[in-house]
Each structure stands twice: as C-alpha cells, then as structure tokens.
C-alpha cells in the first residue's frame, strides 16, 4: 500500500495499462509534453513516446471520434477531454455514436473506449471550468459512467474502464485531484464497474453521493455523528450507469430515509433518478420524503468567491441537510 493523491492514482492506472497492453494509447489536448493541464499524463509522453501519447488538435468531437474509430479496430483508446465543460461538442459522437454501435450493429461492433474528464466546481473556474455533466449521459443506455472519489477506487475503476468492451465515461472530481489522498495497493487490481460502495455503515438514514460530494458527505457524516449522534449511512455510488439499484434499495430498506447529494444543479440531476427509483421500488421502505441536496438551478457555477461558495455544497451544508432529514 502507498498513500497517494487521486491524480497520482489516475496516472498510475494509465501508466500500468499502457505498460500492460500495447493497444492502449492516450489522446487529448496537451496530454503530450505538457503532461495535461492537470498533469494527469505527466511523464507518460517521455516514457511511451509520440505514437502512444498523442496531442490532439483542439477539437473535442474528433478526439472522441478518433477514439471510437480506433476502438472499432480493437485498440484501447483513452481520450482526455480537458474539462468536462468542453465535452459538449462531442455530445453527438458520444450519444448518437459510441453508445449505439453495439446495439445498432446487433452486437457486431463494440467500442472499448474510455473518455476521461475532470469535472466539478469550487475551484474558481466560473461557468465553463466547473461543470458537472454526468446527468446528461446517465440518460444514455450503452454508456457506462464512473465517478470515483478515492484514489483506491479511481485506480481500480480506471483499469476496469480500460479493459471494458464498452464506452466508459470516467469523470474525475478535479477539486479532489490533490486534496484527496488515500492508500492504493502496490499490485495490479481492478474494481468492477457497477457496484456502489458502502463508505460508512449507519442506521438512521442513507446518503447517496459520488465524486467530491462523496468525500464531503463522509466529512458531514462524521460531523453529525460527533455533534448530533446521527448515524448516517453513506453510499458512494462510484458507478452512475448502470445504476446500482440493489445497493440503493438495500440501504433505504435498512434506514427508511434517503438524502441524495450532488454538486450538479437540482432539476434533472442524477439525484432525480435515485429519488424516482426509491419512490417506486423503495416506496414501502420510506419513512420520510426523499431529499435532494444539490446546487441551485442556475446556468453555471459563478466565478466570484462569495457567489461560488453560495452555489457549492460543502460538508457543513450537507451536515445541515442530514440533520433536517434526521429530524423528520
């Protein structure tokens, strides 16, 4: 075990997969000599050279389409979208193309593609360097969506993503790149895409979160345990698509109450689906309303610090939301 940051775990996963399989290559803006604007690919160009670590033109739809094309020939591309905010030009290639190849060809063609992208706010990025975009893609059957919150999960899940025969969107909470540290095994391991993780067992209520918010929710849960004696169960969803319904329902069956936390804006955010699943299949377990704690419905995270802090969930606000629900 080595203690490392989230971004180091991500880099290690790529390094080891590049090492393991000559079909793996990386493309994206500034991923080469520059090592990525967040340094996720630092050192890889030096180690693997121009052929495998490929600076792309500044054009996201083609970054994804090149990945799709290469994946169709059974290579294993890892495409980096520099910020999740810039994935929108590639929407057509992801939603109309990557997600549909297997189905539309009756299983003839599959697309083993990974799209990595840093997402999320709280870093002074304003409307266009702070977005959460997972909700758009969680509506698209054929895609898998992973959002890790710990170095251990990040490394194991990214390796699974590279080895998965399907297109996987891998969203990385950039605020946690260096802030989140954790133990990572020294040997090769993978974590399956799909299952959620019980990050903290609890009896009083269930809190569902992912990415940076899973990290914050853990802090909030410890806080309310300490200060209020509330025993919250925290489920780190990790995989958003396919959704781990069984884990969600099992937790609420136990606790009777559910809170969903995300930093994406409320309406039609990922929390809507969890609430919908609970209000149908979990209806008989519910002892209170299904609560969502999310960012406000405005067109983006504002830049200026006071407004940004108002917009963003944080451990204290999450703790308040937990208290409110516990008091119901």
């Amino acid at each position: 075990m080595t203690v490392m940051t989230l971004i180091d775990a991500i880099r290690e996963a790529m390094d080891e997969e590049l090492e393991r399989d000559p079909r793996v290559f990386i493309t994206g803006e500034d991923v080469g000599e520059r090592g990525g604007v967040f340094r996720a690919t630092q050192g890889l160009h030096e180690k693997y050279g121009d052929t495998r670590i490929v600076d792309s033109p500044l054009a996201e739809l083609s970054i994804v389409a090149i990945g799709i094309g290469a994946a169709l020939t059974d290579l294993r591309p890892i495409c980096e979208i520099q910020f999740a905010d810039f994935i929108h030009p590639a929407f057509n290639q992801i939603v109309n193309e990557a997600a549909r190849f297997y189905y539309r060809s009756n299983g003839q063609w599959h697309v083993p593609l990974v799209i990595r992208s840093p997402y999320g706010g709280g870093i002074g990025g304003g409307l266009y360097h702070s977005q959460s975009v997972e909700a758009f893609f969680a509506h698209v059957p054929g895609l898998k969506i992973v959002v890790p919150s710990t170095p251990y999960d990040a490394k194991g899940l990214l390796k699974s993503a590279v080895r998965d025969p399907n297109p996987v969107l891998f969203f990385e909470p950039k605020k946690g790149y260096r802030a989140i540290k954790g133990e990572v095994p020294d040997d090769d391991y993978t974590i399956p895409i799909g299952p959620a993780r019980i990050a903290r067992e609890g009896r009083d209520l269930s809190v569902f979160a992912y990415g940076m918010m899973a990290h914050y929710t853990m802090m909030a849960a410890e806080k309310v345990a300490r200060e209020d004696g509330i025993d919250a169960e925290v489920i780190d969803l990790r995989t958003l698509l396919p959704i781990d319904k069984a884990a969600i329902l099992a937790s609420v069956k136990k606790t009777g109450k559910a809170l969903i936390v995300h930093e994406d804006n409320l309406t039609m955010g990922y929390g809507a689906e969890i609430a919908a699943v609970l209000s149908d299949e979990g209806f008989e377990y519910l002892d209170g309303p299904v609560k969502r704690y999310a960012a406000p419905d405005v067109p983006g995270v504002p830049f200026s610090h006071p407004m940004q802090e108002y917009f963003m969930p944080n451990p204290d606000k999450i703790a308040d939301a937990i208290r409110d629900l516990a008091a119901y």
Partner: protein, 347 residues
C-alpha cells in the same frame, strides 16, 4: 489544389474485372428499382436510393482491397456494398426489417450498412459522423503498423479506410475535424464525396461558396482530386492512385465524384419542388451504366447477348432475394431489448 490523374490504372483491369464492375452496377440498379417498386406497392415503408451513383461507388470499390480494407459508408452506397459482398438478400431483408438482418438485426432503417466480416463499419443516420471515426480507424491502422502489431505489407490486413458522404454533409463540423486529423497525421484515409448537387432540396450554391468540394482539401493538407463520378473507369483511376498513396504511407486523399441522383432523395421525398424535370432528364442521359455499357460494347467486352444475359441474371438475383426476404421470419418483439452492453468476456 485539385489535380486530375493522367496514369490510367484502369488500363490494367482485366476483362473479367470490367465485367464484374458492370455486373455490380447493373445489379445495384435493378435491386434499387425493385425497392422503389416495392415501396409503391406498399410492401415496404422506406427506401433510399443510389440510382445514378453506381459508377462512383463501383469504381471506388474495385480500387480498394474489398472485404479487407475498412469501409465506412453512407446510406446511398448500395452499389459499393454489393461490390464488397453485401448480398441482394441482405438488402431485401433490411427493407422489410426481417429477423437477423445482416447490418443491424433489423434495428436500423434500410441502407444503414454494416458487416463486421467484410470490415464494413456500422453507419448511423446523422451525416458526417463517420468521417472523424474513419480518421480514427486510419489512425489505428497507422498505430498498429508503428507498434509492430501489424505488417504494413500484409494484404490480408486492412491497410486503409475508405469513407463516403454527400457534398451537403461536408458542411458539418464533423467533416472538418475528421479531414483535419487525416491531414495532420498523414493517415491512410480516403474520403469520397459523392457530389450530386443537392442535399435533399438544398442546391450546392446554398451549401458552400466554392466551385468544387475537392478544393477544400487544401485546407487540410490532403490531396484533393475531382473526377467525373459517372465514369466508372475514371473513378477507378483516381481511386487507384489514392489507394496507392494510402498503402505507401503518403497520406490522405479527398476524392470528389461529380454525379447526380436521378430519383428523389428517398421514398419520402418529392423532388419536383426543387429540381426541374429538364435537369433530371438531362442527367438521365448521362446514366453511368449506359455509359459504361457503351464503352464495353465498343471494346467488344460486352455484346448484346451478354447484356441480356446479365439482365436476366440480375432479375433472377433480385427475384430470389425478394422471395427469400419475404419468406424470412420477423424478429421477436423482445429483440428490441438486447445488445445494450457488450459482455465483459468480449474483450
């Protein structure tokens, strides 16, 4: 800069090859005509046609390593598909949407071709999406060769990608980005624009402010060539050169084949509001099949008897395909819900 070739690679085509080319053009036309008739008889709901484009497609097909090189086609490519190995029955099955139809298991509309076995990549409807994907395939070919995963001289392996689209579709950002990659990385990539002057109803003048699509090649540092798309041998010539370049690592080519669709855009379309009947008649006189027939007759490769013979073979093939497709079962309703994710073991 647009260049036209002078070396006549087509001079090296054998009589047998020439007759095969004629055959595929004819077969495509007869199959296509039958599809229109079936639509009028309300046997099928939709058909989109390649009539008029046969020379461009078959000329191209014979220049590549058919069934081995990757092809990422578009909906108008019936003749191209037949020349590569899609059968009339396959096509008829897709018109009806019968069970286990080759391209998509009848999930897609007709003319959305795919055959993994023939390296025909599954196509969608949003135009031009195939172009940057094709650049990705070309990138992969080059990558495999550079990584020693594939011998560049192994003819049993795909050594280029050939992708097609209409002139209207070059307005899409997707096309721009795909062409740009092909140029930057000097990829084994050939993009053929089948310029039939219209995108549904929109004439080329409202689509772009250049005289020739091939002129756009310069913006990407790829070679641009323009060819009479109704002259199958001329198409073969420019394609053969483009293929040579691709195989030799000399980079990408944009081929503009000037042609015309002699029927409406699709069975849903009525072209009378946007094309004069005179214009259509004028182009019907330039029919690529009749034109090639004339050449072959002049060179006594074809004869009147042989023409009749080919006609009756085409008719038989089309009849047989229709009968087979009509007899084939429908998919089970629940087939709607399979194949969302490839199983993990697939890798």
């Amino acid at each position: 800069m647009v260049t036209t070739t002078t070396a006549r690679a087509s001079a090296r085509l054998s009589e047998e090859q020439l007759l095969q080319m004629y055959w595929y053009m004819l077969l495509s036309r007869r199959l296509d005509e039958r599809a229109w008739a079936m639509h009028r008889q309300s046997k099928i709901a939709f058909h989109i046609s390649g009539m008029g484009h046969e020379a461009a497609q078959v000329g191209a097909a014979f220049a590549i390593n058919r069934g081995v090189d990757y092809v990422h086609p578009y909906y108008r490519d019936l003749a191209l598909m037949l020349a590569i190995g899609i059968t009339p029955t396959d096509f008829m099955m897709s018109l009806y949407g019968k069970k286990d139809e080759l391209s998509s298991g009848a999930r897609q509309m007709p003319s959305h071709f795919s055959s993994k076995a023939l390296n025909i990549v599954s196509s969608s409807s949003p135009v031009a999406t195939q172009v940057p994907q094709a650049a990705g395939i070309a990138f992969a070919i080059k990558y495999r060769q550079q990584m020693g995963l594939q011998d560049p001289n192994d003819e049993t392996q795909p050594r280029l990608v050939f992708t097609t689209l209409g002139e209207g579709s070059t307005s899409q950002g997707e096309w721009h980005e795909g062409m740009n990659w092909a140029g930057v990385h000097d990829l084994p990539f050939i993009c053929m624009v089948q310029n039939n002057l219209y995108a549904i109803s929109v004439p080329i003048e409202e689509q772009m402010a250049v005289a020739h699509v091939a002129d756009r090649a310069d913006a990407y540092g790829v070679r641009g060539v323009m060819v009479d798309g109704n002259d199958v041998l001329a198409v073969y010539d420019v394609m053969a050169e483009a293929v040579e370049r691709a195989y030799n690592g000399d980079g990408a080519t944009l081929v503009e084949a000037k042609t015309y669709r002699i029927v409406p855009h699709s069975s849903d379309d009525d072209d009378r509001s946007y094309r004069s009947r005179e214009e259509v008649e004028e182009w019907k006189k330039k029919d690529p099949i009749l034109r090639f027939q004339k050449v072959l007759l002049e060179e006594t490769i074809l004869s009147d008897t042989l023409i009749d013979d080919y006609e009756s073979r085409a008719r038989d093939a089309v009849n047989k395909a229709q009968v087979e497709a009509e007899a084939a079962p429908w998919p089970a309703p629940e087939e709607a819900i399979g194949d969302v994710y490839a199983p993990l073991e697939a890798i």
